[in-house]
Symmetry: C2
Subunit: 659 residues, 2 copies
């Protein structure tokens, strides 16, 4: 009883602080926070093995708050525990006063979990719902690879559990028997606009979990003893029942202790200042009613097992890696014999090579490893255990990759570029988390011509480009977008991606295309290549259409037009350098790309207009929705993107001849 009394007392205190901080901020979610108070108290004060002074210690158990809006309850515990935070540049224990800065511009505690702002207890930014269980799975996999006995607790809202990604994560956990993760469903019966559906009731949630192979405990989420018993049972599963899965479904009360004050559910609404005292008193009354009484020693913080992450192999800068060396190492010397190689294969070789030189490199795929060529990595006996097959569930894949990154790994996640679209929201949350994510999309642009538009990535460059315009604290872009045109460039950029600390997206196209470069050509994130120097018109392309552009430049040459051929393989690029090149070509520019507008051509337009001066730019891109064509050449014709079309466009600018 002493344990229960102390939990009630602490939970009530945390709820009160959660009320105060959201009232101070005049926004936030105290009622959702309160529904978690007892669960969080038993977790953070008794069951989780962690040290508040080192909340992200490699050996520490982790808590992922999938329902991110409930964060005030965690902040309240952190303030009470004096957890280490970073505030205004300095690292120090969190205070109650800090908690009251919730959501302020100068506060590290954001409205939703945002570890990058100075609260490292959270392993990931959350707040777009449904992603936490996948992140938890990634954290658990990282610990496994490091030989660390880590448990990961994931708090999931009932309304949130409508998101299909939760069930993708459940299946993924089942595939990998990831019972280090303890999913805890917080069933307070309310969504934002109304009650949750019967489909998200505790009973149905339990049935769904059982159907997926989990043992489930349905508990009262405000009963300290029941919570502790369930968490202890989970620990037994994690330790001794390696082949079985375990989950907790907790019935809870939204606004525990002060729901009458809110006069209904009050999702996302703070207690108005005028009602604050009444709300605090109501919580006290409720605490008294359930027998709350704090007694030091009833709850015992558990120290984390001592653990150290393996020293990462020095990033491979010291070993110059080349495509030729990789092919030699893997007995594939003949791959280049015909002078063509699919960039997706070069990606597969590079990934496998990286796996050998850096033990942190892990790979994920979504059931298309025999198309993306991540199978080169997956089938290598040395690397196999670092490959994670996510099946056809891209949202889960991206978030698992995020969890692996949070756990210190260097994840490469791949599928067809079109299907990465499925995980754009998850990717955004990964970027907000500042995860070191590497995405590779294959079958890009018009590559899958015969399959038709449902398989074509045509908006990917525009989407990723937007993120590339934002800067990290170090001044580098939040994301690099890479579109290599040949196998050498692909290989070199995959290596550069691994060396870079930050997110990158690379398009590794499907078709076998001619080699344009060699092992010695230098490629950098942010770089570009001038392949042919001219003076009459600048023709810039990348990826698949660089080959059409090259044919066009050769054809123009025969007509007396000296065009410059530019490989714009990176976004962002050096805008001034491109503007100078344009100036040298009379201010006449043609861009060509196998995706919609607002992409590479728009980035060139940005650069030219930012530079200032007189320019004319004709952008050639996919300007209608494609359809199937048996061969890419037909598709290019359909869309007006052949070498001949480029020639005509360039002639329109130059008046048909050199100047």
């Amino acid at each position: 009883m002493a344990f229960a009394a102390s939990v009630h007392a602490k939970a009530a205190d945390l709820i009160k602080l959660a009320i105060e901080m959201t009232t101070a901020a005049d926004s936030g979610h105290p009622t959702s926070a309160a529904s978690l108070a007892h669960l969080v108290t038993v977790l953070m004060y008794d069951q989780m093995r962690f040290d508040p002074t080192r909340p992200a210690d490699p050996g520490a158990d982790r808590l992922v708050l999938s329902e991110g809006h409930s964060c005030p309850i965690i902040y309240a515990a952190a303030a009470d525990l004096g957890m280490t935070i970073r505030f205004g540049g300095a690292t120090r224990p969190m205070t109650r006063q800090d908690a009251l800065t919730l959501r302020d511009l100068h506060s590290p505690i954001d409205g939703h979990p945002n570890p990058a702002e100075g609260f490292p207890f959270f392993p990931a930014a959350t707040g777009s719902l449904g992603q936490g269980l996948s992140i938890s799975a990634g954290l658990a996999l990282a610990a496994r690879l490091d030989g660390i006995d880590r448990r990961v607790y994931c708090l999931i809202g009932d309304g949130e559990s409508r998101e299909g990604q939760i069930w993708e994560a459940v299946d993924f956990m089942a595939d990998y028997r990831l019972n280090e993760v303890c999913p805890i469903f917080n069933c307070n019966t309310y969504g934002q606009a109304a009650h949750v559906s019967h489909q998200q009731s505790p009973d149905v949630a339990a049935l769904k979990l059982k159907a997926a192979g989990f043992d489930v405990r349905v508990i009262d989420g405000h009963d300290p003893e029941a919570i502790r018993a369930a968490l202890r049972e989970h620990a037994v599963y994690a330790q001794n029942l390696k082949d079985r899965l375990f989950a907790i479904v907790a019935r809870t009360v939204k606004g525990w202790g002060f729901q009458e004050v809110m006069g209904g559910q009050g999702h996302g609404k703070p207690v108005p200042k005028k009602d604050e005292a009444r709300a605090l008193a109501a919580v006290d009354a409720k605490a008294k009613e359930v027998g709350a009484a704090w007694s030091a020693g009833d709850l015992q913080l558990k120290a984390p097992p001592s653990a150290r992450r393996p020293t990462p192999s020095a990033i491979m800068a010291h070993t110059p890696l080349s495509l030729t060396d990789a092919l030699k190492k893997f007995g594939q010397e003949k791959a280049l014999a015909k002078g063509v190689l699919a960039p997706r294969k070069a990606f597969g070789y590079a990934l496998r090579m990286l796996g050998h030189v850096n033990t942190e490199v892990v790979a994920l795929d979504a059931d298309v490893g025999n198309s993306t060529y991540t199978e080169y990595f997956a089938d290598d006996p040395v690397l196999r255990q670092r490959f994670f097959e996510c099946k056809i569930a891209e949202q889960n894949m991206i978030s698992v990759a995020g969890g692996l990154a949070s756990g210190g790994k260097l994840p490469f996640a791949s599928t067809f570029a079109k299907f990465l679209t499925r995980g754009y929201d998850q990717l955004e949350m990964g970027l907000i988390s500042r995860f070191n994510l590497k995405l590779v999309g294959t079958h890009t642009g018009l590559g899958p011509a015969s399959d038709g538009p449902s398989q074509m990535s045509l908006s990917d460059i525009a989407f990723f480009h937007a993120w590339s315009t934002a800067k990290q604290a170090d001044g580098k872009p939040v994301m690099y977008v890479l579109n290599p045109a040949d196998a050498y460039c692909t290989f070199a950029l995959i290596v550069a991606m691994a060396q870079h600390d930050g997110a990158c997206y690379l398009r590794a196209m499907r078709p076998d295309v001619p080699l344009l470069y060699n092992d010695k050509t230098a490629f950098t994130l942010g770089g570009h290549q001038v392949l042919i120097e001219g003076k009459d018109v600048l023709i810039a392309g990348s990826g698949y259409l660089l080959h059409e552009a090259k044919k066009a430049v050769e054809s123009l040459k025969a007509k007396g037009v000296n065009a410059t051929l530019l490989d714009l393989y990176s976004l962002p690029f050096d805008g001034n350098a491109i503007a100078d090149l344009a100036t040298k070509n009379g201010g006449r520019v043609v861009t060509v790309e196998d995706n919609f507008g607002g992409s590479f051509g728009a980035a060139v337009a940005d650069a030219l207009t930012a530079h200032g001066g007189s320019f004319t730019l004709k952008q050639m891109y996919v300007s209608r929705i494609p359809k199937s064509a048996r061969v890419p050449e037909d598709e290019l014709q359909y869309l007006g993107l052949t070498a001949d079309d480029i020639v005509k466009t360039a002639q329109g600018l130059t008046g048909g001849k050199g100047r």
Copy 2:
């Protein structure tokens, strides 16, 4: 037995044609197609009520091929049935010869279902997996609203059923008791790269469906009698057991009849030309083994119930709709009294008004109707039945909207703009389907400042802008992107969206902002507004930051700089008009927006460089990842996007004074 013998004979014929057409195309998925042969035969030749000469008749049952890559089996049946297709501009019965044009540029039968190219039997483009069940649900809802007794059959691959969206759709069906939809899980045990997980086995699939409240029949998917019995049982559910749900799980064989010829699974691989005869013979042998024997009359095509869609109320062009009229009608005259109104509220009023004047208008939300103000529609007793609460499952919401559009409705789907990202892939499939989709994202850009970046849409404009650069057959953009700055503009653009036949996305921001316009101001898709005419520098903004831009222009005026203030509320816009405005302002342009780059500013850069001439453009946008701030003003300061920042940028161009 005669029935079974005829089904086997027909199924074998369809498989053979599927083999031939994929071999002719040298790509495609004959093995997946073959696993569906018996299911498709019983459906299309015996149980579905449809007329091949009018495959998209309002009264017809529909078939949604969620696993789009299996389409050759449907094309084979369509060729055999002489189904109506549109080929080369003319409408005529499909032939066997047509089937052999699979995937050709000049063929209407694409590599994946693509009804827009001339094969209207498919209600939607599919091929990005996991979306068909949601589309089916939308089709069923549309039929309900129209009082039509329509059944919708949805074929779902087992590997595909890993996509969480399938389970979002299952929950949605349960909420609405949508047993007109018959989900059929095709369990051929193979994904692309390997066997499916145990989690996608027939047994686990059946358990999951039961947990969600479905009655499930697990059958042999190559047993004609079992298939017919299950489909007949479904019909009983659809007709008489309105409160119960029904699903079929079918065990099937990938490459039925010719799997040995493929030497393994052969996903996505056609039979090589050299093996074609052997594969066809193997299918014949298998057919003989199971007693195939065709006998006319064993299978009976079922005519569709005669049905007519209600004549849509004439789009409201004849009734000029105004915000003031709407407020009067709804007894909300005071809403404008303070000179401010949140655009999201104007959206809510417009949506409700449209609901009253057009019976096709339907609304969908994802548990945030009290924030997006779709509750104005949902709470109206006249409109309530046309509102669909999708709960926290955005992927399903977008695809359900697609199904409703396919069924003739005019769907408006809304949630926070950030969470629409979750459904970008679904939206893209809707655009490929040419659905008349209207999306409204609220809490846009920096509006949710205190919530932090997890709730902010910063890449939405760039993503939608990419789609806006593609043109429909009528020359209009595939998508309009709209960013109104006040309530009048929002109201007018929502009406314009409804009048336009094509997809639109509108940002309806959260904060109360000053009114800039009135009922009589004209706003058009593709339009813009000059608010203040100047000559020294063009300052273009839209949405939230137009208000900062206005302050900046007023402040510049006091400093002797005559700036032009442009409301760029639409993408695309008239680029030449904007370039002319820029020229009139000395070629000096500043753009400002509360999202990442590659968006409005980039579209201006596109316009200026396409026009040609000498311009200098300074783009101001969100150039770092935001964090929480209690008030938007702090956030603007943090990001350098205040009126003062705009003034300084403009002064940088003008040299601090007018010219």
